[in-house]
Point group: none
Chain length 227, copies 4
DNA sequence: TATGAATGAGTCTTCATTCAT
DNA sequence: GATGAATGAAGACTCATTCAT
C-alpha cells in the first residue's frame, strides 16, 4: 500500500487532461507560457465574479492580450475553466508532500500535511470556492478528471492517517471518512470564510479542528450511554 | 441560553426576506401558491443545470405557465434564485427540530438531529449543491440573509451539543467548530455525492461520521506523543 | 367671412372623432364619465412620461380602476392617446372665445384672445407638449382629425386679426402667417418652458411678444435699406 | 459682446457631450465613421417612426451591419438618440454662419442667416420634428446638453439682430424674444409642414414671416388706440 | 359592468466566437 | 502569431391585450 512516505511529487499535471485542451499554436513552450498567463487571470476573475460573470474579453484584457489570442490556446471558454480548476487542484496536491516531508514522525507529518493543506486553501480562497461553484458547469468527462485529482489529494491525507495507525499512534479507524472530515473542514475555511476569517488564524483553525478529532469527546458516562 | 429543548418550530420564514421579493399580484394565497410552484421548479432546474444554465422560459414551461407570469411574482430571475436558496435552507431548519423532538435523552436527540439533517440533505442533494454554487451570484444583502439562515440552522446543532455537555455526556468542547464539522460532513454527502452514494446509505454515513467524532482516535501511546 | 364676433362656442367635440373611438359599454352617460376619468389621467401621465413611457396599467391605477375597464371604453391604448390630444385641443378652442367675448373693441378682443390662449397653454404645459410629441404616433386619419382642430383654433385668432384690419386698426397684412406667428410664440411658452418660466410671467410674455409684432422694428434708415 | 461678425465656425461639437457616449472600439477614425453611419440611419428612422417605433435591429439592418455592432459604438439605444439629436442641432449651428458670412451689410447678413436656418430645417424636416418629439425621452443631463446647443444657435440669430440695432437699422428692441419668434416660425415650417408645404417655398415662407416682423402692423389710428 | 391574473410576442442587450488583416 | 472588429444567436424582461369569473 502506498504510504505518505512513498508519496513523491509527480509531474505537475496528468498529461491526459492537459492534452484534452487543444491549441492552434505548435510551439510547446509558448503554449505553456500563454496558458499559464491566461489561467492565472482566469482563476482570479472566475474566483471573484464566477464563470458566467467573467467574459473572455475581461480575461484577455487583464492578461494584456487580445480576445482572439485566447482562442489560439484554448478551444473555448470552458477549456479555460477546466484548466483553471485543474491548476488549482494540482497546486494543492503538490504542496502537501513538500510540507509534510520536513517533519520526522508520522503524527508530526500528519499535522504538517493538514496545516499545509489549510494554508494553501487560505492562500487561494476564491480559487477553492471556484472549484465548488463551477465544476458542475463542466461535462461529465471533465468532472471525472477533476474528481480524479481530488482523490489523489485525499490519498495524501489518507496515507498519513494510515502511517499513524501503522505506527500505533491512532487506533484502527475509518480512514477514508476521517480523511474526508479533514478535507471538509479545510474547505470550510474557504467555503465559510465569511464566518471564520477574522475570528481566528488558519493555524488556530487547523489546530482546533484537529483537537476535536484527536481527543475523546465522550465522558466515561457518555461512553456507557453509547453502548 | 437557548437549548435544543427550548427550540420550538418558528414561523417558516423571517418576513423581512420573503417580503424583499415583490409581487405584482395582491392575493396573498395566490402569491404563495404560485411562488411555491415556481420555486419548486427553480430548485430542480437550478440544481440540475445551474443558475445561468437555466432560462426563465424553461422554468415557466416546466411550471406550466407563461414567462410573463413568473415576472408577476418575482422582480427578476435573481429573486427566484434567492427564494429558491432560502426555501432550501428553511426546509432544513424546520425539519431538524421535529426529528429531534421525538427522542428522550440529550445524546439521542443529538443523534436524531444529525441524522435528520443528513436525511434532508440526502433528499435534496441538488438543492444543497445549489446553495453552494449560486449564493455568490447574489448581491451582498441577500448573501447576508442567507448566512443568517445558515447560522440559525447551525445554532440548532450547537444547542444539542451544549445539552450533551450540560448533561455530562460530552466533555466541555469547542462547540462551534464541532457543529461546523458535523454540518460540513453532512454537506459532504451532497457535495461529494459522486463519491459516497453507492458505497453506503445516509444513515450509515451519519453513523460512521459520528463515530469518528465521539470515539477516541488516539491510542494511549499517541496521547503521550500529543502532550 | 366668419369673424371673431360671430364665433360662438360649439359642441365640445366634433362627433366624427369621438365616435371613431368605440366602446363596449352602451350607457352613454357612463361612457362619457369613464372616458373623462381616463383621459384626464392619460393627459397627466402622457404629458409627464410620454406615451410610450406610460403603461395602461399606470393609467388604470391612477384612475382607480382595473386595467380591463380601460378596454371597455377604448379599443386600445392609441385610442386613449387620440382622445387625450383631442381633449386638450378642444379645451383651447373653447376657452378663447369666452375670454375674447368680454372685451369691447377689436384690438382689445384680439389682445384678450391671445392672452387667453397663452394662459390656457400655461395651465397645460405638459399637455401642450404632449400634442407635439405624440401626434405623429397616430395613423394619418387621426392626425388629420387633430389638424382640423388646430385649424379651427387658428381660425379664431385669424378672425380677430381680420376684425382689426376691417376696423382700420391693422394695415392689410398676411393674416394666416401672422396668426401662426402668434400661435407659435404661444406654444413656445410650453415648448421652451425651461427657458421662459422663471424669467417672466405668461402675461408679460404675451405682452412682449405682441409688442414685437405690433410696433415697427425698422428705423427710417432701415426702411430705406429694405427698399 | 460677441457679435455675428465675430462668430466664426467652432469645432463641430463640444467634446463633453460626444465623449459622454462611450465606445468599445478604440480607433477614433473608425468610431467616427461608424457613428456617423448609424446616426444618419437613426435620424431617418427615428424621424419617420419615432424613437420607440424604431428598433435597434432596424437601424442596424438599414446601416448594413449586425445589431451587436451598434453596441460597439453606443452604450445603448438612448445614446443613439442623443447623438442623433445633437448631430441635427449641430448641423444647424454650423450652417448659419457660413450662409451669413457671404453678405455684406448687417441687414443682409441677418436675412441670410434666417434664410439659411429655414433652409436647413426644410432639408431636415423629420430630424427637426425628432428633436421636438424625443428630447423629453432623455434624462435631465442630456436634455441640458441639448438645450445648451439650442441656446448657442439662438445666440447666432441674436447677434445678427444686435448688429442691426447697433448699425441703426433696427430700433432698440426685445432681442431675445425676437430671436425666439424667428426661431419658432422657422421651426413651424417643420412642425406644421403638413400645412405650409405645397402652399409656398421655404424662401417665400421666410420672406413673408420676416416682412411681418420688419414692417409696421398698426395703422396710425391703431397706434393711437394702443397708447 | 368590473376585475386582474394570465398571455406571449417583441425588444434591448450581451458575449462567445470567428476571421480578415 | 496576434489583433480586435464584426457577427448573430440567445436570453431577460415588459406590457398591451384578453378572458374567465
Amino acid at each position: 500500500m502506498a504510504t505518505a512516505r512513498n508519496t513523491r511529487p509527480r509531474p505537475p499535471l496528468a498529461p491526459r487532461a492537459r492534452e484534452a485542451v487543444t491549441s492552434k499554436v505548435d510551439d510547446a513552450a509558448l503554449v505553456s507560457r500563454r496558458r499559464s498567463q491566461i489561467v492565472a487571470v482566469a482563476i482570479e476573475l472566475f474566483g471573484k465574479r464566477g464563470y458566467h460573470g467573467t467574459t473572455v474579453r475581461a480575461i484577455a484584457e487583464r492578461a494584456g492580450m487580445s480576445t482572439g489570442l485566447v482562442y489560439q490556446y484554448f478551444g473555448d471558454k470552458e477549456d479555460v475553466l477546466f484548466l483553471a480548476i485543474v491548476t488549482v487542484l494540482d497546486s494543492y496536491r503538490e504542496r502537501i508532500p513538500v510540507a509534510a516531508g520536513e517533519a520526522s514522525d508520522p503524527l508530526a507529518r500528519f499535522r504538517a500535511a493538514v496545516h499545509a493543506y489549510c494554508r494553501v486553501i487560505d492562500a487561494n480562497i476564491d480559487a477553492t470556492v471556484l472549484a465548488y461553484r463551477e465544476t458542475k458547469s463542466l461535462p461529465k468527462a471533465r468532472r471525472d478528471a477533476i474528481k480524479a485529482r481530488e482523490i489523489e489529494t485525499n490519498a495524501l491525507i489518507e496515507a498519513h492517517i494510515r502511517d499513524c495507525v501503522a505506527a500505533g499512534i491512532f487506533v484502527p479507524t475509518d480512514v477514508e471518512l476521517l480523511a474526508y472530515q479533514i478535507i471538509m473542514f479545510a474547505h470550510a475555511w474557504a467555503l465559510k470564510a465569511w464566518h471564520f476569517r477574522g475570528t481566528m488564524t488558519v493555524t488556530q483553525f487547523a489546530d482546533r479542528n484537529l483537537a476535536l478529532l484527536l481527543h475523546p469527546l465522550l465522558t466515561p458516562r457518555g461512553r456507557r450511554r453509547e453502548a
